[in-house]
């Protein structure tokens, strides 16, 4: 297993380097000069001095050729230095390490909520296939799937204020046990829940026609035991895979959710960095994002054999 994990990391490193080279090139050659942006951010009679801008650029090392800058960035990264933000001068590591725990906790809670809500609903829908319950669950899932986070967030917030005059607007971060996390968590989980409901339903319908389910029912095993012991376990393998993959959806969705609900996470930091063309920050977030996706996929691979022993056997036989 250790060898497997190390191999995965070895593959991940060149992939991330290519991604970072692309991001760096986009930031370097693309629109938006971070130093000029500092001088153009505010309205009014901004008349910047070209000499002054050149002095700032030189001091930040931004006058060096592209490949030199990128090489320096990677060299510093290998020494554990993420550099400083071009606009605020703050340590990028300090900025990212303050924001990442918020996003991770939110993503983790969203995954748990998705699993707890969507898997049972998907099973209920499948066990009541083509009934009103099935249609209601599927219809709701489709509805949730269709609402983007940037629409759902403000709508729920405004709805809350209208329905409960006097209630506080759920804004800010107080940890995962704070009541203010409910709305952002719901918005963030809408699409993953919809996806997993449909995935679970399809998987359960497939398993229902298997011989072992028919045998269990024929033996008079109570329906709840059949569902939990015989149906759920084989269904979990593809569903858990999907849960790992939706981590990307959650990280993407978090950008809007964090903005709307004022959560100081990576999404909010990303937007700020993009607006400012602050590429040391953008690169650090890209690195963390790809690491997050890689780790979640790795976790899924490790969980596979635990859920389905056949997966372990097949790996061994190879």
């Amino acid at each position: 297993m250790l060898r497997y994990v190390l191999t995965r990391f070895a593959i991940w490193i060149p992939s991330v380097l290519v991604v970072m080279l692309a991001v760096y090139a986009l930031a370097f050659y693309g629109a938006g000069d971070p130093i000029k942006l500092i001088f153009l951010r505010a309205p009014g009679d901004v008349a910047y001095n070209p000499q002054r801008i050149e002095a700032i650029r030189e001091s930040a090392g931004l006058n060096k050729p592209f490949i030199v800058q990128f090489g320096l960035y990677i060299w510093n990264l290998l020494h554990g230095q993420f550099g400083n933000s071009l606009t605020s001068g703050r340590s990028v590591w300090a900025m990212v390490s303050a924001a990442a725990p918020v996003s991770f906790q939110l993503a983790l809670c969203s995954i748990i909520l998705t699993a707890v809500v969507a898997i049972p609903l998907g099973m209920i829908a499948a066990l009541n296939q083509n009934s009103r319950i099935d249609y209601a669950i599927l219809g709701s899932a489709l509805f949730l799937w269709a609402i983007p986070a940037y629409v759902a967030g403000p709508m729920l917030m405004v709805g809350l204020i209208v329905l409960l005059p006097g209630a506080s607007v759920p804004y800010g971060w107080g940890g995962i046990f704070d009541v203010r996390i409910l709305l952002p968590l719901l918005v963030l989980s809408f699409q993953p829940i919809a996806l997993i409901v449909r995935q679970t339903r399809a998987a359960v319908i497939e398993v229902l026609s298997e011989d072992f389910v028919r045998t269990a029912r024929a033996k008079g095993v109570p329906e709840i035991i059949v569902a939990l012991r015989h149906i759920l376990r084989p269904v979990l393998t593809p569903v858990v895979t999907q849960l790992g993959l939706i981590m990307i959806t959650i990280v993407n969705g978090a950008i809007f959710v964090e903005l709307v609900f004022g959560l100081p996470g990576l999404g909010r930091l990303t937007v700020q960095a993009l607006i400012n063309s602050d590429y040391p920050v953008i690169l650090a977030i890209t690195l963390i994002g790809s690491f997050l996706v890689m780790v979640s996929n790795l976790l899924v691979d490790v969980l596979y054999p635990l859920l389905d022993p056949r997966a372990n056997d097949s790996r061994r036989s190879r």
Partner: protein, 544 residues
Amino acid sequence: MSDQSDKTNISRRNALKLGLAAGVGLTVFGMNARIVMAEEGQVLKVANPAFDQDWSPLRGGGRTFRWNSIWWASPMYFDSEGNIKPYVFTSWESADNTVWTFKLDPKAVFSDGSKITSADVKGSWEVSSMPNTKNQRADQVLSRVKGYAEIAAGSGTELTGVATPDEGTVVVTLGAADPIFFMRLANHIAPITKASQSRGSDGEEIIDWYKPDSKPVFSGPFKLTSIDIDAGKLSFEPNENFFGPKPKLARIDITSIEDNVTATSLIKSGEFNAHTELVTSTIIQDLGPEFSAGPLIPTSQHFWFNISRAPMDDPKVRQALIMAVDRDGLFKASYPDGPHKKADQILNSVPGAENSGFEPYPYDPAAAKKLLAESTYGGPERLPKILFVGISGPAIQAAAQFIAEQWRQNLGITAVDMKPQQDSYAGPDQNSVQIFRDDVGTRVPDAVSYLAGSIASTSSNAQNKLGGYKNDKVDSALAEATTKAADDPQRIALAQEAQKAFREDWAFIPWYSQAMSRWATKEVKGLEKNLDWQVVEPWNISIG
């Protein structure tokens, strides 16, 4: 029915009771939150529209700059009427407009009770001038001071033109005479800090020197008591040693709230009562006219033509494009309920803006069509595509769409495109951009300064947005005007002449004169702002 079923089956009546209880509970919880606010005293709760990571008062611009006056004192300040008032400096005089002598208020002290000295003033100006400080507007205040050019270019660390003969006197020597130099200082662009705290031995700004962990001292009516940049929260409390009037507020809390819908909801619900800058197309309907009311300031928004690019290189095309736009309709399309005012010219809210002699461009579709036909292009079909940039935000989009529609209806022009990017537009058409939407303005109530920053050939606006615009009449009138005293009628007359000469080049579509919004609920008193975007007298802010 058994006890068991009683516990598991909730009747409709019980469900209603439960819902009612939850509703009452939440309402009481919300009310309690407000009672806590009331018990704490008067707390100004401000929403800041971005997750700003840098609150150094030395940046001289940006959103964070808008709150500088609550924690830093300036040499002098302008009130909302444009009158100059003493602050750290009590007097200013110059015999030749080149050497200026300023006297400090002997009562002026920092928050630890130590005196604000001339050395602090000099050190603050010097650190603001250093390139690495990235002060966005130090040029506007200090560029004429001897030694500034060397510091700004990174080859010096001292303003040689600033002398401190004693701790209560600052003598400034300029490279050339400037009759309004004293007015240029009356703002927070280079605020007065304790130089030994803000500036290191190498002359550079000390990182994070202003944060409470560094135990800084402050010169304004409030002091920064807590800052959590990663969460986007700052708190300010009264500076008990402030040398001016005692502040009325118990605290000012600033929280980053990027989403306009959320910010509007929070202000509507009473949880917040002010905003750094809230620009939405429904602001009046959402938060009432008082929220964004304010006096007009010397800043205006226009659509500038790059006269060096086709088809704007033909004066008849420019004239046709301007005359084909109904500018009353243009203004109504963008700000139907205010708070801004339609503009006919560049100057506004400075002496000389009224009765300037600038004749507004007429709306004459028939004449416009004729001019286009007489141009070297002969008609709309041979014009290259017209590309606008700086078209960001709903009001700006509405205005640009209105212009494009007028050109379609009145001139038959259909090839028009719009992009949000402004200075750094880097699309495939970057060399074809002909129209830049942008603002111009000044922070001193002076017509010459206003026009020098927008139509003089040395201005960034003329060089970049207007495509290297140069009119000798404009330049010479403004150059002569700068030598006249601030209150000399000739200064104003020459500025008016320059603006009239600019008119004949048909290089812009006037749009609106900007109002300085309060961005505060009607309960908040004393939040009037000046040309510097600063709260004029932050010690006077109160709620209710």
